[in-house]
């Protein structure tokens, strides 16, 4: 993500050292002039925009300047009831009945319109969530469209996906998504559900509802039958109403392990199927023979991509002792060049923390790290005075038992440990209740295969990190949740085999 600008930035840094007249990149803000946002958003139920029964709304704000963007409908149980009823009606009446090839065509349409409206989606994503426009533009939005495009084609080919079995849809899928990749997570959830013939009630996170509502507009534009996709906005209780609704057949949730457990508990004794995509504390392991400069880029991409608001973030760094000093020095140099600031600026590397609440959590962990005796490093950077920002933060001198090593922070905070032997690092890397992802950096092929076999995590990035693709299954071991999203394996979460 950052590679292209590395050399430029290092030149700038050199210039800074040699020249008193420091020069910096001129602001390059993306304009939001072409964006059409309403003052108030209703619920998208049964193909129509309806006001919440209780007429309650909440504000969504831009975390980079704390300004209110719009009012969002706050759905309660009765609204969720309507949405589930609409989804049920659409499932029984249309979606499970029409030819799978027709289903595919609807989903292709969604993908295409998303591509057409990609700039608008990217700008809104950044305004509402705080992520750098470069990431919304180059990662979130194109990947989201690609998920629809990829899954569309499965609709009429399911018999090839599950040999000897017939794949039938589950019914109404209740889907609850987080605020770190709002549109992308909506796509991960909705696309395979629709392809397999399910209908959907989706709730976006309360701080990032806008792109899901824009997606609802796109779905309207694509002419999907009413009720096939319903978007209900709200807070945790809205999500709980979806999970607990007796007519929901499938619950798909991405979020914290804590809430994941509440959901697993809530659906115990029911026949609801669940996919839980939960937290992580992923290890990024650097061996002495690794291409060090590339590895440093991988470390930066692993933990500072999307402000570290990534469930699979490489938040635990393990560096082989013989190169630890060098790697840490290079890492410090590198993060000194990261630009923290206006997410709408195309040069920004680290945007705004998604919410005041999340900034509070990150700061709490930074405090804990310091109190536990770890050594903190933050580069000096001009953080905007308005909005929620956190500089890239490194902790060295941490113990395996440190809370900043064991607990998910979900921010730009990296805990650095060292190791000597392979056995040691495997043990340390696996010593966590989580098991979402891991990174391995080495030039030795046999070592990569050794590690990818022994690391207990659902995604292993070897000599790369934080790569995603619609064809590639994603999901965790252990307390990082169960079920996969993406690829052939992601489909199986939305079908019953008969």
């Amino acid at each position: 993500m950052y590679t292209n600008r590395l050399i430029t930035l290092q030149l700038i840094k050199m210039a800074k050292k040699t020249n008193k007249n420091t020069w910096e990149l001129a602001p390059a803000p993306e304009s939001s002039g072409h964006i059409d946002l309403k003052k108030q958003y209703e619920l998208f139920i049964d193909g129509r925009w309806v006001a919440p029964k209780k007429k309650k709304y909440f504000a969504t704000t831009n975390p980079a300047n704390e300004k209110k963007i719009a009012n969002i409908a706050y759905a309660d149980e009765s609204d969720v009831d309507l949405a589930v009823a609409a989804a049920r009606k659409a499932f029984d009446g249309v979606w499970s009945k029409i030819a799978p090839s027709e289903r595919a065509k609807y989903i292709y349409r969604i993908a295409r319109i998303m591509q057409e409206r990609s700039r608008e989606l990217a700008v809104i994503e950044t305004m509402d969530g705080g992520k750098p426009i470069r990431e919304s533009r180059d990662v979130d939005v194109p990947l989201a469209a690609n998920h629809f495009f990829y899954n569309a084609g499965w609709a009429d080919k399911l018999e090839y996906a599950f040999p000897t079995k017939r794949a039938e849809p589950l019914g109404v899928a209740g889907q609850i998504i987080p605020w770190n990749f709002p549109l992308l997570m909506a796509a991960w959830k909705i696309a395979p559900a629709l392809a397999a013939g399910n209908t959907v009630v989706l709730k976006p996170a309360e701080t990032t509802s806008l792109t899901a509502l824009k997606l609802a507009e796109i779905i309207e534009e694509a002419g999907l039958p009413p009720g096939v996709v319903n978007i209900v906005t709200g807070h945790g209780d809205t999500g709980a109403a979806i999970v607990n609704h007796p007519d929901v057949n499938k619950v798909a949730f991405t979020g914290s392990t804590g809430v994941g457990k509440i959901i697993q508990n809530a659906i115990a004794g029911t026949n609801k199927k669940a996919t839980l995509e939960l937290g992580g504390k992923s290890a990024n392991i650097i061996f002495a023979d690794a291409p060090i400069d590339q590895a440093v880029e991988g470390i930066v991409n692993g933990i500072f991509f999307n402000q570290g608001h990534v469930c699979c973030a490489g938040s635990r760094l393990f560096v082989q002792e013989s190169v630890a000093e060098l790697v840490i020095k290079k890492l410090k140099d590198r993060i000194g060049t990261l630009i923290v600031g206006d997410p709408m600026d195309k040069n920004t590397d680290i945007g705004a923390i998604n919410s005041k609440e999340q900034l509070g959590i990150i700061n709490k962990y930074i405090k804990i790290g310091n109190e536990e005796g770890a050594e903190m490093y933050q580069p000096s950077c001009n953080v905007p005075s308005k909005g929620y920002f956190c500089p890239p933060t490194l902790f060295t001198n941490v113990a395996q038992s440190s809370r900043i090593v064991q607990e998910e922070i979900f921010g730009p905070v990296l805990a650095i440990q060292t190791f000597r032997t392979i056995d040691e690092v495997i043990q340390k890397a696996n010593n966590t209740p989580y098991g979402l992802a891991a990174g391995v950096w080495t030039d030795k092929g046999s070592r990569i295969f050794n590690l990818t076999t022994k690391l207990r995590a659902g995604v292993i990035w070897a000599n790369t990190y934080n790569k995603f693709d619609p064809t590639s299954p994603f999901g965790g071991y252990k307390e990082s949740g169960f079920g996969r999203e993406g690829g052939l394996h992601g489909l199986s979460a939305y079908v019953k085999l008969v």
Binding site: G260, G269, T453, G458, V459, I460, A462, T471, S472, Y477
Partner: protein
Amino acid sequence: MKRLVIQKTYKIYIGGKFPRTESGRYYKLESNDGSAIANVCLGSRKDVRNSVVAARKAVGGWSGKTAFNRSQILYRIAEMMEGRSEQFIEELIAQGFPKSRAREEVKESIDRVVYYAGWCDKYVQVLGSVNPVASSHFNFSVHEPMGVVGVVPQENSPLLALVSLLMPCIAGGNTAVVLASEKYPLSAITLAEVINSSDVPGGVVNIITGKLTELLKPLSSHMDVNGIVGSGLDEENKMLIQKESVANLKRVFIYNQDWQNEEGKGLYYIADLQEVKTTWHPIENIGGASSSY
């Protein structure tokens, strides 16, 4: 003078050994006519915990064996069962099974073991994938064992249900802690003896006899058990397993199956107890001068 028969002490099976329950308790197993068959171990939660420790220890070795080797070992289990089939049948009859059903149960169980023996070195190929990602990476997904799995077969099918749940579990490289049928425990213990003489490393399969009401909770709530698989459980026990599994997000699969048909076996019973792991690696410079083939 009539020769006095040697009666067998039925014990539990943990870590490749046959200890008595650490609790020292037992329950009387009687035949239909009320005559005593055996004093069976009334296993305790400590036995469950010891089993999980043994099962965890065995995960690395068992999942690290070649798939081909696991296949041969499962086939060996079937061979041993065949040799002991009369004993299995007699025990079932002694516990009150009709003769014909006892024969069927044993025959189907042996065939099921052979069925899963054949899957050991095939399911990864069938279930795995190379994923055509839209970037210059080689990306593949393979199935890996979940780890330690609790196995809770239904009461009324003491051998076939057990084998139908256990074999896909261990064929896939997992290790197991099995709660034997309370009413018909002998088949499970004899199976343990078979397993013990079939080159299955100690700890891969652990079998405890006792009361479901006592053992199900410690098994389902154990933080070092990765999944629970069961069949024919009532709503109350199903709920108990699912609630207790929340603590460490166990994967729970409870099947409505009597296992006496073709639907009682298949690839997807193996797949349920697997994790999917996806590995990415960059591919050097696609489209270079040498790529024109």
